[in-house]
């Protein structure tokens, strides 16, 4: 009896552990951004990123997220602009191949709204940021969505002749959508 009880407990604990470290379905998740050139929105996205996310609405202190973006995987308007943006004035991918966001805490704002606090490390600069996030379930999977307005010059993205915000605006809106499978 106790043996059965124990196995059941272990089994439950294993299940629990599994559901705790929800795997992010990377190929269904996306990280997009919109910047403005001459007042016109320009879309782009990062094709390759890694996400290590544990999200339990009932246990926020043990929930966390780490997103690492391979900057060289950028998809932009043209090959020419992709080459440019990987270069020194922009991401400088040879020295800073990744952008990393690491959460420090997640706050519930009521309903499906949360606030993720954490650090964003980009081009050798680390900043504390707060990212609003919405969680909803879609056919049994958790979907985390949100967007963050990044000021590109804070991270020295677009230096030299590109610093002028009249051509490429300061603000870049980064939008993410992570699909978490249990």
């Amino acid at each position: 009896m106790t043996a059965l009880y124990r196995t059941t407990l272990i089994g439950l604990a294993l299940l629990w552990a599994q559901s705790a470290s929800a795997a992010v379905l990377l190929d269904k998740s996306e990280i997009r951004f919109i910047c403005k050139q001459m007042g016109a929105p320009v879309e782009g996205r990062f094709k390759i990123f890694d996400a290590d996310v544990v999200f339990k609405p009932t246990d926020l202190p043990h929930s966390h997220a780490k997103i690492s973006i391979a900057l060289a995987s950028i998809d932009l308007a043209s090959d020419e602009s992709e080459t440019e943006v990987k270069g020194k004035n922009w991401f400088n991918v040879t020295h800073f191949p990744q952008a990393v966001f690491q959460s420090t805490s997640i706050k519930a704002l009521g309903g499906e709204n949360y606030e993720v606090h954490g650090h964003l490390a980009l081009k050798g600069i680390t900043q504390d940021i707060v990212v609003p996030m919405k969680i909803h379930t879609l056919s049994g999977m958790q979907v985390a969505e949100g967007s963050y307005s990044l000021m590109r010059t804070v991270f020295k993205i677009g230096e030299g002749t590109w610093a002028d915000p009249d051509t490429v605006a300061e603000e870049v809106v980064v939008k993410f959508k992570m699909i978490l499978a249990h």
Binding site: Q37, M38, G39, A40, P41, V42, E43, G44, D75, L76, A77, S78, E80, S81, E84, T161, W162, D164, T167, V168
Partner: protein, 180 residues
């Protein structure tokens, strides 16, 4: 009523559009080979604004054309010449519509929206897609070469009328042209 000459609206539209096209063509040609820089992005935006302006003027021009009779061509012209002139004009209209649309498609497919005069956002015609973007870029360029060819023909025909046929065809498209 004067039926040997286009009216003021048609003449104004013809020359306004002609000037804009020459400018948009030259600017397009210049900017395409530039190295990526803020200047290039600026010129791209201006080119698009000029292109959209042409598009709007041409739409109005087509509306005018469909709602007004055109002056009869000189009687000295053969039926084939008249047909040739009609077909050339039709293709000029087609190109004046398809060139801005392919430019807009190229931009949309590149993921770059068009905000006319930094003021009026135009909808993206299609979703971002690199292959389509490259395709429309090629088509936009090829149609421009076709336009260049047709305009050269068109101007050559006008000169032929003016100096060889001496039928004063140009006066039909001139503000100060004498009415016969």
């Amino acid at each position: 009523m004067n039926n040997t000459k286009y009216n003021g609206t048609a003449i104004a539209l013809h020359w306004l559009v002609a000037v804009f096209i020459v400018v948009a063509f030259a600017v397009g040609q210049y900017m395409a080979d530039l190295e990526l820089s803020p200047w290039k992005l600026k010129i791209f935006a201006w080119h698009k604004w000029a292109g959209v302006t042409i598009f709007l003027l041409v739409l109005y021009r087509i509306y005018w054309r469909l709602t007004h009779p055109v002056p009869a061509l000189p009687a000295s012209m053969s039926e084939n010449m008249k047909k040739g002139s009609g077909v050339t004009h039709l293709f000029l209209y087609l190109l004046m519509v398809t060139i801005p649309i392919t430019g807009w498609l190229h931009s949309s497919a590149a993921g770059v929206s068009v905000v006319y005069l930094n003021f009026i956002p135009l909808p993206n015609l299609i979703d971002k897609n690199k292959e389509l973007s490259d395709l429309f870029k090629e088509v936009h360029e090829s149609l421009n070469w076709a336009l260049l060819g047709l305009v050269i023909m068109h101007v050559a025909a006008t000169l032929k009328h003016q100096f060889m046929d001496k039928d004063n065809l140009l006066d039909r498209m001139r503000f100060s042209g004498k009415c016969k």
